[in-house]
């Protein structure tokens, strides 16, 4: 119970940091803390393999990629704060969604598992599912990743534009 409370506190602390910090690097650090908390939550929920993947891909990959994005797109000036009206509208929307879903969750009665057989938590069981029942999804996801990588390179690549107005704006 104490471990769960600590994980929830850590994750929400990181998320609040990520959402409220004006400095984008600090917000990114908060995201890293929140993702670490989510990985710990997965560990508490009996899924160590998914927790390891969360650390590897989210903290090790996505956060680092975002850090590179921050470095490459730095404007070198302090961002002006968003308008109070915009923040208030966003807060009202988020709180409204929270309240609406909280009511639904509070009144929901989640059924307990019907079978009394202890489920298999091993990674080998997971791997058999990936290569058997979810094989098509698994292969499709690899194609999606390939297309995403090629697409990202194609979008971010620097082309020499024949359009004179476009080359005028080019920083080189």
């Amino acid at each position: 119970m104490i471990a769960e409370g600590l994980v929830v506190f850590l994750t929400l602390f990181g998320a609040i940091l990520a959402v409220t910090q004006r400095n984008i690097v600090r917000a990114l650090f908060g995201l890293g803390v929140a993702l670490g908390g989510v990985a710990l939550a997965f560990l508490l929920l009996n899924c160590p393999f998914v927790a390891a993947m969360e650390v590897l891909i989210y903290i090790g990959g996505i956060t680092v990629a975002l850090a590179f994005g921050v470095m490459l797109s730095s404007t070198g000036r302090i961002e002006p704060p968003e308008g109070a009206g915009r923040r208030a509208l966003a807060a009202v929307t988020a709180v409204a969604l929270f309240v609406a879903l909280a009511v639904v969750i509070w009144t929901a009665d989640f059924a307990q598992p019907a079978s009394t057989v202890e489920p298999d938590w091993s990674v080998g069981y997971l791997g058999r599912f990936l290569l058997d029942r979810f094989n098509v999804v698994f292969e499709l996801l690899s194609v999606v990743l390939l297309v995403a990588i090629i697409g990202a390179i194609a979008i971010a690549a620097r082309y020499d534009s024949p359009d004179p107005t476009a080359s005028e704006e080019d920083e080189s």
């Binding site: 996505i62 990629a65 915009r86 990743l145 697409g151």
Partner: protein
């Protein structure tokens, strides 16, 4: 903690992410909010997988797919952000209004 507790926890994370997406103007800060929302969905899947589902594998596999798709999404989004920065030297979401009616 029961399944209700975990779902409330993920709901808080989701609301924070939604707030970030709606209130921020920096494109990378909006991406951070989207990541928080994706993680909230993952926590939901893992919690229901742990407490409600008969089989312990389906929820974990779906979360692995979510993580993979999130990686692809960030790669595409970052390349778009870099392209926007190269053309206008800022990444303010409010400034991207060419297609506004």
């Amino acid at each position: 903690m029961t399944v209700h507790g975990w779902v409330f926890f993920s709901l808080m994370l989701f609301a924070l992410g939604l707030y970030a997406v709606l209130s921020r103007r920096n494109l990378i800060a909006i991406l951070i909010g989207i990541e928080l929302m994706l993680n909230a969905a993952s926590i939901n899947f893992i919690a229901f997988n742990r407490f409600v589902a008969d089989d312990a594998a389906i929820g974990r596999i779906i979360v692995l797919f979510i993580i993979g798709l999130a990686a692809a999404e960030v790669a595409i989004a970052l390349s778009i952000v870099l392209n926007v920065y190269r053309q206008r030297h800022e990444i303010d979401a409010e400034a991207l209004d060419e297609l506004k009616g």
